[in-house]
């Protein structure tokens, strides 16, 4: 069994162990779960060390026949795009385990099993190189997440949120399933080989009319997951009602699957259609950026606010992807990771005060800085990272996205940039209302500052928040070659259909002396 397979199945083994363990000893079960996820994380570091930087293709590929009759194989591997997403998943799983330590008190056994299943699903989605396998992981993940929201969520609307989450996601993915099948048979009929192998599919040249439909079907599934405007309404509900850990993983990892899907499938498989749909996708993501930010501004519930801010931030990611140049796409990838840390940390933070006060309403807080100074510091750093302060992680990604967008179509960057202003407005306003002012509520007066465990959790997040901001090079170096490969596929076949990009490159050239511009078209 290769390293990647080990990563996939280790959490599963842990889950089985917990299932057999005694219900009366939640401490033991927590211990097993934490040990498993820590072990998985440590193993996943092996991916990083064994990954050859500078190579764009898939590495550490494992292949095993699964359903040979249908050309289904168990095929996993990583490239620069998935490497860090896997690491993000394993790291955040550890964080999630630790974060749930005192939060979850009932049905610990089931909870830990769900978390470990979720971890398997998350890793699986990012490493699967067989469309069938991918689809299986993609759907499998719904179950534990659904249970997490539905069982351990906030009383009240948790069931509504859980079912909404499930149905929304399922809606998109079912159409994707049809698209996968259509593609599978097209591949079979044209090449004679019936296979779900992604690598083989990459070589397939689909007629444009077909690409359009397939792109839409795949795209819908991913757009719902991202979530892009106007398919986002499940997110605020899911985030708000989910337990802290659920929100953290949902924001940090699950949302990334949508954007990952775009990069992994939509772009390379349907290059011509991609180019065709750039205006639509970029347009929606721009609307999402502004819309999410505006709506976030007027929220009265911290978690909902963060959820809408996710809509805005993920808009940046999609925009970067559909800028269709190295800068934008790299920015999008970084932004995916950044959003994982920033928003993940934000949900941890909200969870910590929720655990103390059992409310998420902004109006119920105020002046927490006075009673919880350490917490205030972490919250501030995380909020600033979410705003995209230079020197912290958010900025690098957002700047690259804007740069990419500007090169593709200056207007995009102009509109998207407004999102940065609004981000400062909603985040700081919320921060002010929660943390500043006098402690005017009696309940807030006695709040305890962070304990060691909580501080350690946030420290991990803040470490990466700063590290990504100051020295993102190791990440970019590994991500970029893979993105270039994707881009090459799009460029080679989609290039003739690219009016937008062409004008973007020519416009400044026409305005001024030409010698500089001819060379700088994204390479």
């Amino acid at each position: 069994m290769g390293l990647i397979s080990l990563l996939i199945f280790l959490p599963l083994a842990g889950a089985v162990l917990i299932a057999l363990g005694p219900r009366e000893k939640p401490g033991l079960l927590r211990g097993i779960a934490l040990t498993t996820s820590v072990a998985t994380f440590l193993l996943s570091l092996g991916l990083f060390t064994r990954f050859v930087a500078g190579e764009g293709g898939f590495q550490l590929v494992e292949m095993r026949p699964w359903v040979p009759g249908l050309g289904i194989t168990y095929r996993v591997g990583i490239d620069g795009i998935s490497l860090f997403l896997v690491l993000l998943s394993t790291l955040l799983s550890v964080v999630a385990m630790a974060a749930s330590w005192s939060d979850i008190k009932v049905r610990v056994k089931e909870f830990m099993i769900c978390l470990l299943f979720l971890e398997t699903g998350m890793i699986g989605v990012f490493v699967a190189l067989d469309l069938f396998l991918f689809y299986v992981f993609w759907e499998v993940m719904l179950i534990p997440m659904y249970l997490l929201i539905g069982i351990w969520g906030n009383p009240g609307r948790r069931i509504y949120a859980a079912v909404k989450f499930f149905l929304f996601t399922m809606f998109g993915s079912l159409l994707m399933l049809v698209a996968i099948l259509v593609m599978y048979f097209y591949h079979g009929k044209t090449t004679g080989i019936y296979t779900f192998d992604l690598m083989s599919w990459y070589n397939l040249k689909l007629p444009l009319s077909m690409q359009v439909w397939l792109f839409l079907a795949f795209g819908l599934a991913f757009a719902i997951k991202v979530p892009m405007f106007p398919f986002h309404t499940w997110l605020p509900d899911a985030h708000t009602e989910a337990p802290t850990v659920g929100s953290v993983l949902l924001a940090a990892v699950l949302l990334k699957m949508g954007t990952y899907g775009f990069l992994r499938f939509n772009l390379p498989l349907f290059p011509e259609a991609t180019v065709m749909f750039v205006p639509l996708l970029a347009g929606l993501s721009l609307v999402g950026i502004i819309y999410g930010a505006l709506v976030a501004m007027v929220q009265v519930d911290v978690k909902r606010l963060v959820a809408f801010s996710s809509v805005s931030h993920m808009g940046f990611v999609v925009l970067g992807i559909f800028a269709l140049n190295v800068e934008g796409m790299t920015g999008a990838m970084l932004q995916m990771l950044n959003h994982g840390f920033s928003t993940g940390a934000l949900f941890l933070i909200v969870g910590m005060i929720y655990e103390r006060r059992h409310t998420r309403m902004i109006a119920d807080f105020g002046g927490l800085s006075t009673v919880m100074p350490v917490f205030a510091t972490f919250f501030l750093i995380v909020a600033l990272s979410s705003i995209g302060l230079p020197g912290l992680n958010g900025f690098v990604g957002e700047f690259l996205v804007l740069l990419g967008a500007f090169q593709a179509e200056p207007l995009w960057a102009v509109v998207a940039g407004l999102g940065l202003i609004l981000a400062a407005v909603y985040m700081l306003w919320m921060f002010q209302r929660v943390m500043f002012g006098e402690v005017d509520k009696e309940e807030n007066r006695g709040l305890k500052d962070l304990n060691l465990r909580e501080a350690a959790l946030l420290l991990v997040m803040v470490f990466f928040i700063i590290q990504f901001g100051v020295y993102p090079k190791p990440y970019i170096d590994r991500i970029e070659p893979s993105l270039k490969l994707v881009l090459k596929r799009v460029e080679e076949r989609g290039a003739p259909l690219r009016p937008a990009a062409a004008t973007a490159a020519e416009k400044p050239a026409a305005a001024t002396a030409p010698q500089h511009f001819t060379t700088q078209h994204h390479n």
């Binding site: 309404t233 190295v326 800068e327 230079p390 500007f406 200056p410 400044p508 500089h516 994204h522 390479n523």
Partner: protein, 608 residues
């Protein structure tokens, strides 16, 4: 030594780390000492480098020190590196020098505050970012400092976050700055697609070949950069945050909102002199905005009763002068004024802080008066600062301001007139402040026990006072070879390849001297007027205000700009957001979802 430039930014960072992490266990004195020494370290390093650079011939004074690749992606390669040249050195010296003084002052001023450690951590962090801003070798890195100082400004304005006003003011400052930063950001994007790099040296070197003089690209770039500068340096229409920023501790106002951060915009415009020189339209815009701001802010300053607000509007106004200088092409003069302004405005703020300290936090000048005797040191230094700001010979402000006005006259009489009227008002409101605070009868409320400030506060005042007097002499315009600052800086600005108007000025010494005397005369007469109105005949003022009551109200309420912004921008956005959420999100989108579900469920009911 030049390659040790990173030490300049490292020291404050160390201060942040030590005070921020370990400081919780340290006594206040140690914290204060660490904070101050960190800045002193930067200052000394900067001095050493300055000496070394100054020793080089003017051609070899520019060098770049690269630490590591920060972002390298596609065609974007941005290094974390420093640009060491006369301009950045002057800025580094000013920033670290004034910062050090203010740090020392703060150890006294903030001695009793609960957040002492937090204060010094923030202050060191600010200096760190400010030094990055002025020493960065690329637009992007400069932007790091740019937003970083904005952050620190946010934190320090809202330092006393328990109260609503500082917290609001901090947020306002950050958000308004963000609007400016948006311009900066777009400018960077445009620069990148044009030059394929964001390095200052590469951009400026390529500019003459790549850009067409007066072309759309360069005009757009420079205008967008100027939007950023407007935000940071509080120019119309983005000046609104600065008066509110006075909610922060006074040393912060002195350091950030007078001496250093707010001048970042000027520095940036000067840094991009090459680009601006190629965009005459932008230059005009800069000059006009600068001139208008100078006038506008000064007029508001005339009627403010809060001593710090007077100084705040004065700062806005003086920043306007600096932009005016840049706009008319005398970047050196802009920087010169920046430096002198840093001295005397810091002095004034610290003086105001000293008054506050002695008055138990009172800021309303109507409740002061006659402090001259009770706080002699403060009075003396404050007066020196005032004279310098009013532009009285031989104080620092005289030289720098005069150079600007002279250059403006060369460009257009209207600009000169605006500047001169502004100078007139400046002298008036400053002496109004002096008279209301230190002269006349005491209007102090009985419970306030007035006392002179401790030595740690007075000493910095004295040092700054000396600088306010002598600071101008480095730029003496008339003595041959006397304008050392210009000599030091000019090579940078002549890259753009056009003769600075200041050079022509040398040929008209006579006229210049005349103009100097005129402005001096005006200033002196205005001082007299202020004395007449506030000391001799205080009743006259009431009559005047009753006479021009609507005008008085308009100016007294700062032209209702804040109210207008609130009604025209903030409320509409807020309301439309609410509308989007409550109606669009919940009714339309979710309504469609729920509608579909209801439809299916309804069908289910029908089918049973």
């Amino acid at each position: 030594m030049i390659d040790k430039i990173w030490l300049v930014v490292l020291f404050p960072l160390l201060g942040v780390v030590i005070n921020g992490l370990a400081g919780i266990k340290l006594p206040r004195k140690v914290i204060g000492a660490i904070g101050s020494l960190a800045i002193l370290g930067s200052f000394i390093t900067a001095c050493l480098i300055f000496v070394e650079v100054a020793g080089h011939g003017s051609a070899e004074r520019v060098s770049e020190v690269v630490l590591f690749t920060w972002i390298g992606c596609g065609s974007l390669q941005v290094n974390a590196g420093f640009l060491v040249d006369p301009l950045s050195l002057v800025m580094m010296l000013t920033v670290s020098g004034v910062s050090f003084i203010i740090h020392v002052y703060s150890t006294g001023y903030m001695a009793e505050d609960e957040g002492f450690r937090r204060y010094f951590t923030y202050l060191n962090l600010f200096v760190f970012f400010m030094l990055i801003l002025v020493s960065a070798n690329s637009f992007l890195l400069m932007f790091v400092g740019w937003e970083g100082v904005g952050l620190c400004s946010y934190l320090l304005i809202g330092f006393w976050y328990q109260r609503q006003a500082p917290a609001d003011a901090g947020k306002k400052a950050f958000v308004v700055n963000r609007v400016g930063d948006y311009g900066f950001l777009l400018a960077m994007l445009l620069i990148f697609v044009t030059f394929n790099t964001l390095d200052f040296n590469k951009v400026f070197a390529a500019a003459p070949q790549v850009l067409e003089k007066g072309g759309l690209a360069v005009t757009l770039m420079t205008l967008l950069l100027f939007v950023g500068a407007c935000g940071k340096s509080a120019q119309i229409p983005l000046y609104v945050w600065l008066p509110d920023a006075m909610e922060g501790p006074t040393p912060v106002s002195a350091l950030i909102h007078a001496a250093t951060m707010v001048t970042a915009g000027v520095y940036m415009v000067a840094r991009c002199a090459t680009l601006y020189s190629m965009a005459p339209i932008s230059m005009e815009v800069v000059a006009i905005i600068g001139c208008l701001t100078a006038l506008f802010a000064a007029s508001i300053g005339l009627l403010q009763n809060d001593i710090k607000r007077v100084l705040a509007y004065s700062t806005i106004s003086q920043l306007g002068y600096m932009f005016l200088a840049c706009g008319v092409g005398v970047f050196t003069a802009g920087i010169f004024h920046l430096v002198t302004h840093a001295f005397f405005k810091a002095l004034l703020f610290l003086g105001a802080g000293s008054v506050m300290h002695g008055m138990s936090g009172e800021l309303d000048m109507r409740k002061m008066g006659g402090l001259k005797t009770k706080m002699p040191w403060t009075y003396g230094t404050f007066l020196i600062g005032t004279l310098a700001l009013a532009g009285i010979f031989p104080f620092a402000g005289f030289f720098s301001k005069d150079e600007i006005l002279w250059a403006a006259l060369q460009k257009s009489p209207a600009l000169w007139l605006g500047g001169a009227v502004g100078a007139f008002m400046t002298a008036f409101y400053m002496f109004r402040a002096v008279f209301m605070t230190f002269h006349g009868e005491s209007r102090i409320e009985s419970h306030v026990h007035v006392h002179e400030s401790p030595g740690s506060m007075i000493l910095p005042l004295c040092v700054l006072a000396v600088l306010s007097v002598a600071g101008g002499w480095i730029g003496l315009p008339l003595i041959a070879g006397g304008n050392q600052l210009k000599e030091f800086l000019q090579p940078l600005f002549s890259v753009a390849g056009h003769a600075a108007p200041a050079e022509q000025a040398a040929h008209e010494v006579g006229l210049e001297i005349t103009m100097m005397l005129v402005s001096l005369g005006i200033a002196l007469s205005v001082i007299g007027l202020a004395w007449f109105m506030y000391i001799k005949k205080p009743l006259l003022l009431e009559k005047l205000s009753a006479r021009f009551s609507s005008l008085y109200r308009l100016v007294y309420n700062k032209y209702f700009v804040d109210e207008a912004y609130d009604a025209l921008i903030i409320q509409p956005i807020k309301n439309s957001s609410l509308w989007l959420w409550r109606l669009f999100d919940e009714k339309v989108i979710d309504g469609a979802v729920h509608g579909t579900a209801a439809l299916v469920l309804g069908a289910s009911g029908a089918l049973r």
